[in-house]
Amino acid sequence: MSAVLQVNGLEVSVRGERGERIKIVDNVSFAASKGEVLALIGESGSGKTTIALALMGYARRGCTVSGGEILIGDTDVLALSRAELFGFRGNRVSYVSQSAAAAFNPSKTIMDQVIESAVLHRLSSKTEARAKAIKIFESLALPNPETIGNQYPHQVSGGQLQRLMAAMALMSDPEVLVLDEPTTALDVTTQIEVLRSFKKVVADSGITAVYVSHDLSVVAQMADQIVVLKNGTVREAGATMQVLDAPSDEYTRSLMAAAKSIVRVQPQSLDASDVSPAKPLLELRGVTAGFGKTDRDGMPRFRVLHAVELSLERGSTLGIIGESGCGKSTLARTIAGLHPAAAGSVCLDGETLAPHLSRRTREQLRRVQIVFQNADTALNPAQTVEQVLGRPLAFYHGLSADAARKRIARLLEQVKLPANIAPRRCAELSGGQKQRINLARALAADPDIILCDEVTSALDTVVGAAILDLIAELRRELDVAFVFISHDISAVRSVCDDILVLYAGRTVEIGKRDNFTGGPGHPYTDLLISSVPELRQGWLEETHAKTVAEPNSSLPGNGDLCAFLDRCPVRQVGTCDKTPPPRLTHGNGNEVLCHLGQTKA
């Protein structure tokens, strides 16, 4: 079969400060035939998006395609004139970008944007295009296909927007579809639905697709061929099976190692000899928090957390997992006193902390430290590493300059950074280095508890895995307890002793780490675990992860009834929609907020 897409010796460069050319993509070649899915995989900065955009005959500001050729069918994309490119883009090749929320124009209706390419390229009339769009919406399993297009982008969910963008790309029946990290911004439970729709569409339409991703497990589900990129060059290319089973390149192997879920810590052996049942280090009782105006009982209008309870022993790690918007960051901010709780109490060593940090003592502040998700924004880019770390040392410990310097050197050693990094500015560091400084800043206070809020989410797989290793090691070396917040169950499993599953601000399951390997627990936990892609082909077809195809929002989702009711695949009419779920202790010791264990027992 002749190749629909052929890239030969592609080279993209940017202009350096002195006007010299710096190649960011060098000598990249690959080809895909009709109906094939080719994956470009690599970490950020590997040039994968630059290549994907070059396929559209487009380079971002400052970049130029400086060499090679791209053939789509018989057309040499790089030889097209400016005018020809307008007719080519969005017509013969179309693009699905990473963040649908950003890629939709907020002030135009979805339908106007979906049919824009078809109308621009005069492929059909507006009416025909609308009818076609509705058909595509149906095939992508979007709810209310007839009317969803009349809405504005902010009115539909992230997973739906991502599918709507795929519909937008399919409108012109392109020869090549470029998917750039199309599920990275989604929750795993949403990702699986979107992946299924994409796979079906690609199979049904016989389109040639280029799938850009950093996630090997996702790629394993989608691709026929894999091209592994690093620093703008091809490290390895081959059929998916071959790359996954017998990777020839060392970099590919390190990617695979990072993608494997491993347990990095052994459970704390809290032996029975510990006679005095010491008070837990941190204890939350009935913590309720939210946003908006408070009503007469002091309760906020929009509640994010509903009576959350948890306890954390000295030196142990509690993982908190849940999808975006479930309240996990608010929980961390409530513990830290950044977001005062409306009700309930946060106790440190049996001592109740003031809801707002302005009323806490300096000693209390020192003992609870928070590490934010995005080190780019958490660290002042104009400050040096020394300044960043020196501040908590001076504030909490009143160290002299000399003592501080020694302590900083020790801290850098703890987070595995060279001591000579101290005088450098944060802006000059890499993402992984910044996240280590972010951790070191928390450690500088010599805290009892470190709250880690999605500390690996913004990092590449390999770098993120190294941060997890570091956290595991810090746990062993220091007597620090961690609250580790993440949406990624394998990250949570790899460093935590106990796991708390948060859904819509409620604890739906809490228990020992080893009990979270495949249920049965709370239906949401089971869905979460079975939605994480495995690093093997065929997983997507085999997995039984499913939610109800269409969430039934007519079910009463408020009050004390189960919050997961409208998405639950195993809900029981008559029980779940009538009475609030009980908190039951399952055989394995997990506490689960669900009717289901009851009927089984």
Binding site: L53, M56, Y58, R60, L85, F86, G87, F88, R89, G90, N91, S94, Y95, S97, S99, A102, A103, F104, N105, P106, S107, K108, E116, S117, L120, H121, Q151, Y152, H154, Q155, M168
Partner: protein, 315 residues
């Protein structure tokens, strides 16, 4: 939701205007000099001055005078001019329409021009056109308007003799005569306001052109004009109308230099006359008009920005 937001803005504007009225009254009361003394001149005996003060109500306590004045304003009677003894309403009634015509004409020319310059330089960012427009708009901001007006008079009125150097409009003037009469003052005022609006428009549109959805539109095959007008502009309306409102609100009160140079009878020069002659009721009324116009422009801009935001329009 939308109506509540708009109603809130209107209430806030009304409250601000009330505060402004208080400030205006307080400041004009602090101005040195006494209107009675000023009216009667140096030779007046203290008894006559005192009598006049009594007549003018200047002896009453400040808060009573404030309330009387505010009540008058609300019922449409801002008092009587101390200098000409005419109702302030009539004096302003004669001048305000002229100022509004000048401001309206300037807005009609400057807003489209500024939008055109701003959008073009955003579309062709860093190109020669953009750089040329940048130099032009920056020099327009930098050159003071009295210089622009003077040079314009020398070139167009004195040397070329194309246009009149003072603006006198007779009620039965033809359109051509009107255009000739207003050309120079409108041009000078445009010089002042276009640059500001154009630069804000450029910044707002560029901000949108850098967004992901614009890249998506490029990848769908949309042409630059369509991208700028259909995709970027609707999202840039908020900041643009605010820049326009701020620039245009200058046209009523800030036109003093232009009014003076072209001998145009507008409210700005009226206010300056009121200051020199200590004519407090007239001065206060003019200040209220300028503040009111300013607040109205900002209010309209706010409401347009709210309505143009689909997140507020479609909850």
């Amino acid at each position: 939701m939308l109506m509540i937001l708009v109603a809130k803005r209107i209430l806030i504007a009304a409250f601000t205007l009330l505060l402004v009225s208080f400030v205006i009254f307080a400041i004009t009361s602090l101005l040195p000099g006494d209107a009675a003394q000023e009216l009667l001149g140096q030779s007046a005996t203290p008894e006559i001055v005192a009598e006049l003060r009594e007549q003018l109500g200047l002896n009453q306590p400040a808060h009573i005078r404030y309330l009387n004045w505010l009540g008058g304003l609300l019922t449409g009677d801002p008092g009587t001019s101390m200098v000409s003894n005419m109702p302030v309403k009539d004096i302003i009634g004669e001048r305000l329409p002229k100022s509004l015509i000048l401001a309206g004409l300037t807005a009609a020319v400057s807003v489209p021009l500024a939008l055109l310059i701003g959008i073009l330089s955003a579309m062709y960012r860093d190109s020669r056109l953009d750089r040329a427009l940048n130099v032009v708009t920056l020099s327009m901001i930098a050159v003071p308007e009295f210089l622009v007006a003077t040079i314009a008079v020398i070139v167009f009125a004195v040397q070329l003799r194309w246009l009149p150097s003072i603006t006198i409009v007779s009620p039965d003037a033809s359109f051509g005569e009107l255009a000739r009469a207003y050309a120079l003052p409108v041009m000078t005022l445009c010089f002042v306001v276009v640059a500001q609006m154009a630069r804000m428009t450029r910044a707002a549109v560029i901000n949108q052109l850098d967004s992901s959805y614009v890249e998506m539109a490029i990848l769908k095959g949309a042409r630059p004009t369509r991208i700028a007008l259909q995709h970027a502009l609707p999202n840039a309306i908020g900041p643009i109308v605010n820049a326009i409102a701020l620039s245009l609100s200058y046209l009523l009160g800030g036109a003093i230099i232009v009014e003076t140079i072209f001998n145009y009878p507008g409210v700005a020069s009226l206010m300056v006359n009121a200051v020199t002659s200590r004519d407090m009721p007239l001065l206060q009324a003019c200040a209220m008009i300028f503040s009111g116009a300013y607040l109205l422009m900002v209010l309209i801009a706010d409401i347009v920005a709210i309505i143009s935001n689909p997140k507020l329009r479609h909850q």
